[in-house]
Symmetry: C2
Subunit: 141 residues, 2 copies
């Protein structure tokens, strides 16, 4: 049924037009448009539409997914290649978090990471890979 998609489109619009505090409120607005539904349906729609409740109101989050590494960029300080390794310097204590984020990034040519306190040693397959990975990280600095 395209019912669902009509409803979701309406939800998008409604969220843009005016702040919506909770699902019940959204429900009423939908009903006024002849698009009845139950609260569970809204819960699912909102997740599908990537809507977040921020402050007191729902808001569509347009952006592309921010990867863990991107989220951590404020903790990064520098990247230096050393043969088949990279030394990534971070804020004190942040190394393990950064290492985990780097791992999860699934960067091509990245073999593994080893975290100290404020430094991550990144092992890569080749010096060429080192360059690529380095560039990727540098973009965030």
């Amino acid at each position: 049924m395209q019912n669902r998609d009509r409803r979701r489109a309406a939800i998008r619009e409604l969220l843009l037009e005016a702040p919506v505090r909770n699902q019940e409120e959204l429900l009423e607005k939908l009903e006024r448009r002849g698009l009845g539904a139950s609260q569970p349906v809204l819960s699912r729609d909102l997740r599908a539409l990537n809507v977040a409740k921020l402050g007191g109101a729902y808001q569509i989050v347009e952006e592309e997914r921010v990867t863990p590494l991107e989220q951590l960029k404020s903790l990064l300080r520098s990247v230096d290649p050393v043969s088949k390794f990279l030394l990534v310097s971070c804020e004190p204590g942040a190394a393990s978090a950064v290492a985990r984020a780097l791992d999860s990034e699934e960067l091509d040519g990245l073999v593994g990471t080893l975290a100290g306190d404020d430094t991550v040693l990144v092992a890569v397959k080749s010096t060429a890979a080192a360059q690529r990975v380095r560039r990727r990280i540098q973009e965030l600095l």
Copy 2:
């Protein structure tokens, strides 16, 4: 007490390091760091830190506050100055929402708005103000 700020700083870090599904989970992580608290406190902290639950996990929303008007930009169609007025054309039915958003923008020189169905009449102090306001809106088109 600076207890609260230490806790909030820790929350920031924790949210960056790994996804957190709910407040209870966050609570445990905080306790491991010796920063015990109760669930209500977290609820308040999360709002104060401008954290949203998106998909299944909490995520800090790095401000860049989107004003109501910016949210509505997809509903805007055109702006035309007419002496000390602007005629803003919108998607059908969107005028009142747009008018409200314009009001809340507190634009300098903007006197008031009057919404029809798909058009907002914006009254401004002077033709110079009209130019400024017009430019501001045009940026969004």
